[in-house]
């Protein structure tokens, strides 16, 4: 794999963000609003609980982790959609750029944009609402890595779906995280769910993160094997999503979809 084309994809995104407040603002504005809103909700709930339970770590922490995951997914798919919106596929894929170089470029772009969002969320949640986020200690790293991995996989899957179904299908892929959220137990234990939803939750890596986070915050021992399963599932999902994107790309090349890909022809 050559790194110059990967750097090209990253540089293009930097140019776009640098020259456009409407692109840079959403990197931190929406997550900040989320943290502020949920911060006040947790404060209210704490006042109702009258010291019997602290909602900040479990609720606000969960919001922060989920927003991080969503930003990762959207980082990948937005970078991909930039090529859809500017009808750049023909220019891009008539070059020596390989699929793996392209996807790596999208992933690195997403790391950058979601890191900005994560930093803003951490500062706000910790400084304003007293979230003891770092009380999770070293476990924070695997938690974020699993969410990061699955966010990448979902972003690649969303991009493949848009490539296959056409530009108008972007409206189908934005709500994907919301569609998954009931199954992964962001705010409640998986045991709360009916059995079939639990079964779905167990194949989704974020469920292991949120179960683990609640265990740690409740002072229970975290079963490391369970987190490892989450990590393995996330890695598997990245491979599957990459394979699916490559399949869709080959389909687009075979059928001429890539050559005529534009809002007019495929919407």
């Amino acid at each position: 794999m050559r790194m110059k084309p990967v750097a090209g994809i990253l540089l293009r995104q930097l140019y776009l963000i640098r020259g456009s407040p409407v692109r840079s603002l959403p990197m931190f504005a929406w997550v900040a609003i989320d943290i502020v809103m949920w911060g006040f909700i947790t404060r209210y709930l704490n006042s109702m609980a009258a010291g019997r339970f602290n909602y900040v770590p479990s609720l606000l922490g969960a919001v922060l982790m989920w927003d991080f995951f969503t930003r990762i997914m959207q980082g990948v798919s937005t970078a991909f959609l930039e090529d859809v919106w500017s009808r750049n596929f023909l220019n891009l894929f008539a070059t020596p750029l390989t699929i793996s170089e392209y996807i790596l470029g999208l992933v690195i772009t997403s790391i950058g944009t979601s890191a900005v969002g994560l930093a803003v969320m951490l500062v706000l949640a910790t400084a304003v609402f007293g979230l003891p986020f770092f009380s999770l200690g070293a476990l924070l790293v695997p938690f974020l890595l699993v969410l990061f991995g699955f966010g990448i996989a979902l972003g690649i899957l969303a991009s493949a779906l848009v490539l296959r179904l056409g530009p108008a299908s972007e409206w189908l892929v934005w709500p994907l995280p919301a569609l998954l959220s009931p199954f992964v137990g962001v705010f409640y234990p998986l045991a709360t769910l009916p059995r079939w939803m639990q079964a779905v939750g167990h194949v989704l890596p974020p469920s292991y993160v949120f179960e683990g986070m609640r265990a740690v915050l409740a002072g229970r021992a975290l079963f490391a094997g369970s987190l490892a399963v989450g990590g393995a599932l996330a890695a598997l999902d990245i491979l599957l999503a990459g394979y699916f994107f490559a399949r869709v790309f080959r389909y687009a090349i075979r059928t001429g979809l890539l050559a005529r890909y534009s809002a007019e022809s495929t919407a």
């Binding site: 110059k4 084309p5 020259g19 930039e82 023909l90 220019n91 008539a94 070059t95 020596p96 890539l258």
Partner: protein, 281 residues
């Protein structure tokens, strides 16, 4: 006069060479003079045959015109050469490299400009050149971009977003991008389609000198027969996915009893494909 398509086939008595050798062998035989070799190219969409057994070569310093009426298969052929559309059958070799087997290596030697594939309008001229320069892996990119900005009179527009440029300026940027990697093969799909006559003349002269100075081979599609006569060394007439006629654009009309290339074009576009083709020179 009626014409029949020329369909190429490999002679049955010659065993097929291993596919991995075919492109390199052909390039070696041609002494490195062939920059594009297309053999038996065919594209079928369910029941529609868009390109039907097209074969041709483009040599160094040669400008080859790919002509034909709308729907003849020109853009489909170009898309297959660019690797954004896979052929149903046939082979594309760019600089002796098989596109199907070594896509990245083959495409590193080619580039293109098409009126329907404008560069991202939300990036400036210089940003677009840097972006594509990295994608092509150009060494000393800053210097190369500076060279191209001067060569294509784009210096004063370097920080202007491409979406704000006039058609002529956009064409110049697209051409600058098309030569970024010093391609051995340049594909130009109607590069002057949206230009006024003066701008079109300048672009034509620039492209002609590119072929002469850099030695690249150019495959050019156009509906403007005047510019085809002016620029192209050879033309291929495509109709219903097949090559009907091939030859020197300045001699072809006379050889086929037409007053002008445009008249010949119109006749070919309207003729049914029934009788043997008469091949020029």
């Amino acid at each position: 006069m009626r014409y029949r398509a020329r369909v190429y086939a490999h002679p049955p008595d010659i065993p097929p060479r291993p596919p991995h050798d075919a492109c390199a062998d052909a390039a070696e035989e041609a002494g490195g003079k062939v920059v594009l070799s297309v053999a038996g190219l065919r594209k079928v969409y369910s029941k529609l045959v868009a390109v039907d057994g097209v074969s041709f070569d483009v040599h160094r310093r040669e400008v080859v015109g790919l002509l034909g009426p709308n729907g003849a298969g020109k853009t489909t052929t170009i898309n297959m050469i660019l690797g954004v559309l896979s052929p149903t059958a046939g082979r594309v070799c760019i600089g002796g490299v098989d596109l199907a087997r070594q896509r990245a290596r083959a495409l590193a030697q080619a580039n293109f400009s098409a009126v329907y594939a404008s560069l991202p309008g939300n990036l400036t001229v210089a940003q677009n050149l840097r972006f594509f320069g990295l994608v092509y892996g150009i060494p000393e990119l800053g210097r190369r971009v500076g060279e191209l900005l001067r060569q294509f009179d784009l210096d004063r527009l370097r920080d202007t977003k491409c979406g704000l440029l006039s058609s002529g300026e956009q064409t110049r940027v697209a051409l600058a991008k098309a030569v970024l990697n010093r391609p051995r093969l340049l594909l130009l799909d109607e590069p002057t389609a949206s230009l006024d006559p003066a701008a079109a003349q300048t672009i034509r002269a620039r492209i002609r000198s590119l072929a002469n100075e850099t030695g690249c081979g150019i495959l050019w599609t156009s509906h403007n027969m005047y510019e085809v006569e002016e620029v192209c060394d050879r033309v291929l007439f495509l109709s219903r996915g097949r090559i009907l006629l091939e030859g020197d654009p300045r001699r072809l009309p006379r050889e086929h009893g037409a007053a002008t290339l445009e008249e010949l074009f119109i006749r070919l576009a309207r003729e049914p494909l029934t009788e043997p083709m008469e091949r020029a020179g």
